[in-house]
Structure formats: C-alpha cells, structure tokens
C-alpha cells in the first residue's frame, strides 16, 4: 500500500503522537490498579510481570479489607486512607469481597486500657465504630472467647486476593492495557541521552528475550522495588518485611476478629470461604523470592488464634504461608513504620528521566496509590485527564481472559 494511503495507518500515526504510553513492571495489586488507572486516562499500557498475576506479595496477602481501625492509634494517616478506600472498594469491587464487618475484642486489662484511645482514634479518623455489648457480641459470634471484656464493631471485610487483582486487570484490559505475565524484566533501555525508554525482558514461556518501549516506565514491584531500581543504578529504600499466616479448616466466625491492642503478632483472625485465617508476624529479610514458613511462627499464630476463638485449638490447619511487605526503609523496626506508600520520581532525585517507582502501601489502598502515581505520571508527561477509578465498578474478573 502507498505511503499515506491507508487510513488506519494514518490514524495509528496520529494516535502515536498523541497517546502517551506506559510500562508497568509488576502485576500485584499496585501494578494492576495502576494499569487500570493509566489505561482509563488514555495511556497505551503494557504490563510486564515475571510470574502469574498476583504471584508476589498480593496473592499471599491476609485478605483483610482494612477499616483502618487497626492503625487508628499508631498511624492516623494510614487509618484515614484505609477507611476512605474501604468505602470505595466495597462499591467498585463488591464481586470479590465478603463484607460482614469486624469486631475488636478486649481479652485482658491491658486491652481494656487501650479501648479509650482506640475509640477516640477511630472516631478522629472517620471510621464508623460502635461499642457492642459483650453478650450481644457473643450471641452474634458464638465461637468467640467467652471471656472477652469488650467489643467494638468496625466496617472490616475479607477479600479474595487473586480475584481482586484480576478485577483491576480485567478493567485495565477493557481499556486496552496489555498484560505480559511470565515476562521477567532484566534491564532498562536507554535513549541517546540516557533517559529510560523501556525495559528488556525475557518471555519465560518461550525462553526468548523481548524489549518493550514506552514514554514512561513505572516500577511497581513491591518488595522487589529495590532490586528492580538497582538495574537502573538507583537505590530505593524498600525492605522486604515478611509475615506468616495460618489457615484453618473451619470458618469459625462471620466477622473479622481483631484483638483490641496496638498492632501485634497474630492479632487478626479472618473468615474466608470455609476457612479462618490468622495473621501475622513481622521481621526483615534480604531476599524475598523464597521465604520459608518457620514452624515456631506457625505455633505462635496457633496460640494467638486460640486466644480469640478457643475451638481453633483443636481445628486442623489447612495451610501456612509467608509473604513480604514492601516497607519503606529507615532506621526504625518494621512494624512501627507508617503503612502508607511512597512514590519516587527518579528524575527529581537521581536525574534519571523516564522512571517512577511506587511501593509500600496496602492491598486496601492500592486504588489510591495508583491514582496518586498516575497523577504524577500525567503531570510529568503533560497529559491532562482526571482519575475516574473511584466512580465505576470494576469489570468482572473473568474478563481478564477476554
């Protein structure tokens, strides 16, 4: 066909000069939500993920759609973000959330002592919180430890991790995003003046190298963000901070049961399908690719679970698993750090143009992390489109495969 003769080619050419393009590395909650946000704002999005969707930390999350109450005393910023996003996700991701609310229960005097600060903190953060009479709480959740001294109700919920990621990915696909799972990013591409203009990857299905190019690349690799940034010679202070979860063969409550105390090991018991899942712990590792499940931590979880629901003492374990939080570095120990996320524009800090890193955060806050990151990306590229992800329900997760 003659030059300029094909109207489709012409349209393609115009689109290329106007439509910005982005590569998202990593298809956990953050990457999938970001792919959706950027695609919805008109970007041509390419996702590059080394494994299956949600095969990093996201798939292995505890599965609590936080009300924020867990952090309302220690980290108001995280708590406020959680409650706002909790309300949004319940609307847009209803398809993969079992929403039965949650209780915070006091088991001893120390817990009771924490109650006033908790109640006040929750109210200050805008989290709907209600004290429930102990007898009423026990009637609603008969498996609870009968010795509980106080109970508070908050809008917690449980979600299905893979399906939540898939729902964001399906929505991204509906807006034209392309997902390359089983593609390992092994390096960055640079243009003539040293700016990052894409990534080189390996298609692991075929064992073939493949390059992807775009106007901007976003490193959304969670606990691996430091390793990936290193490939561009950049240091990102993220430390993998794993925790253990233990699943039981029986769903013992309908609500999420939290211990009324400062964030601690094994303080959350979550119902999911026919299971109950207790979590978690917190310690630091160097390498997040393989984290063994430590038997002593499993034992500890078992003890903590039985404190909340005594019958779990004798219920068979169904599974135990580990995953690593992407906690933002610093000198403080893991758990006391803020749970909110960080977004680095490597142009401002390291004068490397074309690369942004987003890491930290929680599953509950993945949508707003994506929104803020996409705002930054739009600003960098001079592209003016507003975020609409809070307004529309996500596409059915099955449509990831459409």
């Amino acid at each position: 066909m003659e030059e300029g003769g094909d109207p489709h080619a012409e349209l393609d050419r115009i689109m290329k000069t106007t439509q910005p393009s982005a590569i998202v590395i990593g298809a956990g909650f953050t990457g999938c939500a970001l792919a959706y946000d950027l695609a919805q704002r008109g970007f041509a999005v390419t996702v590059v993920e080394r494994g299956e969707l949600a095969s990093g930390t996201s798939g292995r999350t505890h599965g609590l759609l936080h009300s924020g109450a867990r952090y309302c005393v220690t980290d108001a910023e995280a708590a406020i973000e959680c409650i706002q996003e909790n309300m949004i996700l319940r609307r847009i991701a209803k398809q993969c959330i079992e929403y039965n609310g949650g209780y915070f229960v006091a088991l001893d005097d120390a817990d009771l002592g924490y109650a006033p600060a908790f109640f006040q903190g929750a109210q200050n953060c805008g989290i709907p919180v209600e004290e429930i009479d102990v007898q009423r709480a026990l009637a609603a959740e008969p498996a609870l430890n009968p010795k509980i001294l106080a109970a508070y109700q908050v809008p917690d919920a449980a979600f299905d991790p893979l399906r939540l990621a898939m729902a964001f990915a399906a929505s991204a696909r509906q807006h034209g995003a392309k997902f390359n799972t089983f593609h390992d990013v092994v390096g960055f591409l640079r243009d003539g003046i040293g700016n990052i203009c894409g990534v080189s990857a390996v298609n692991r299905h075929a064992g073939q190298p493949v390059d992807f190019r775009a106007d901007i690349t976003i490193n959304a690799t969670g606990a691996w963000a430091g390793k990936v940034a290193e490939m561009a010679g950049i240091s990102v202070p993220v430390r993998p901070t794993p925790g253990v979860m233990v699943a039981y063969e029986k769903r013992v409550t309908q609500r999420v049961i939290n211990r009324l105390c400062e964030p601690d090991d094994g303080d959350i018991l979550l119902p999911q399908r026919r299971m109950a899942v207790i979590g978690t712990t917190s310690f630091e590792v160097e390498e997040a690719d393989y984290i063994p499940v430590y038997p002593d931590q499993v034992k500890q979880m078992h003890q903590r679970a039985a404190l909340l629901v005594p019958e779990l003492e004798n219920i068979k374990m169904r599974g135990a698993y580990m995953s690593a939080r992407p906690l933002i570095g610093g000198l403080m120990s893991g758990r006391s750090l803020s749970r909110t996320f960080k977004c680095y524009d490597h142009q401002t800090d390291e004068e490397v143009n074309g690369l942004v890193t987003v890491t930290g955060g929680k599953a509950t806050t993945c949508r707003v992390m994506a929104e803020k990151t996409a705002d930054l990306v739009c600003q960098k590229l001079g592209w003016q489109r507003a975020c609409e992800t809070a307004q529309h329900p996500l596409a059915d997760y099955h449509l990831y495969y459409s």
């Binding site: 798939g59 299905h205 299971m275 393989y290």
Partner: protein
Amino acid sequence: MTEQLWQVHFKVHRQRTGGKPYVRTFTLDVDPEEYILDAVERIWALHDRTLTYRHACHHSTCGACGMRVNGREKLTCITTISSVTQNGGTVRIDPLRNFPVVSDLVVDMGNFFLRMDRSGFNSVAPLAAACLPYEQPLTAENSIDHEPERLVDCIECGLCISVCPAANTDKEYVGPAVLASLHLMYVQNPTQEFIDQADHHTGLWRCHSAYECTEVCPSGVDPAWRIMDMRKKVMSDRIKSIFRPRSSEKKNAQPA
C-alpha cells in the same frame, strides 16, 4: 512440623511454548510437612529460574496452583509432601490435563474462565446459598445489620476438569465446574436461563457420572451431586410440562 528433613526427588514436567516436553529431576532436602507448592517455589528460587508455574494465595482460596502430583490432581499449596511420598521417594509433577499447556506447569485457563463467566458465576453469595443445599447452613445467629455473605466454594481451580473422563474425550463439554456454577446460580435464582444453559448435549448430558470431580474437588463444591440434582430438575420440568400449558410451566420452578 517435624525437625527431620527428608530427601525427595521431584520429577518435573518441562516444556517451552511449542517445544517438546521432557522431565527434569530436582533433589531437595525438605520438611515433610512442607507443601508441594513450597518445594516448586524453592526449585524456581534456588535451582532453576526458568521453571514456570501458577500460584497466588498459598492457602486454597485462589485456585491457581492446581497440578497433577504423582498423577493425581492436587491443589499443591495445601498438599503436604508427606501425604504423597516418603523419605527418599519421588514426586512426579505435571500440569493439569484437558487444558492447553503454555509452558512447564502453566496451563491456559482462559477458555474455562470465560465459560464460568457465561454461566453467571458469582464469587460472593449470601451465607446460606454459599453452602451446599443439603448441608446445615453456616448461619450467624443474631446477625446485627445485614444477612451475612461469603465467598463461594468454587475457586475455579480446574482440578475437576483435569480429572474428568468426559472432558478428556470431548473438548466442547463445559465440564463439572461450569455445571456446578449453573446449579449454584439456579439455587439462588431459579430461572429457566440456567436450566437452558445446562440442558445441553455439551452440558448435563455429556457427564458419565464418574464422580471423579467430587472426589478431587479441594473446596467442597460437590459438582457431581450438583449435576445430578440439576438433571432431576430438568427431568421433573419436562414431566410437568406434559401436564401443564406451555406458558406457565417454568415460572414456578423451585430450588431443591
């Protein structure tokens, strides 16, 4: 968990897209109470970075980790090594059957997920409907503000399709999970639409009643019972329609 480690030989199916399949053996020292998926992940992390496999939740809620372990369909994240072999033993790991293999242990779930979608499958249901109709429903007493709900049992792992002899001989057969989904949807909302989708030669009537699906299902869906129950509904519907005028026949259909 035990302190003593076992030495186990993992014989793993390998295959590049479009390439010839072969088997590679990895010998690992393992805690016998570790799960098969942990061993597979360790092989990838420490021995062979080219190995591909699917996984996400590691606690039987996502359905991604289905494989054949010593020839039997297993959810590998909850299958302990000690349940399939012994110290010094061998564990064979293969991809699911009746799905296209993309590479190594990764199968293409696309067609299956789209069939589930067409069946109307909903992941969340009111608590009573989420359980099997013949079970004592797990209800919450004195529910405070609304009827409790939960994620339903089918995790779309495809084990039932891999094990099904009918799915093996007929690629058009929608398979146990899709029929179980239609039954679940019908129980919640008894409309003709679900019956019509199931009442088909590539649906309810392709099943040979092998019951392998129920045997292998890791999540308590009981697809075989659901298929039989759905057949009963179709049959009683047909019988009733002989005695009833056509227009009203299906409106009053009741769930079991």
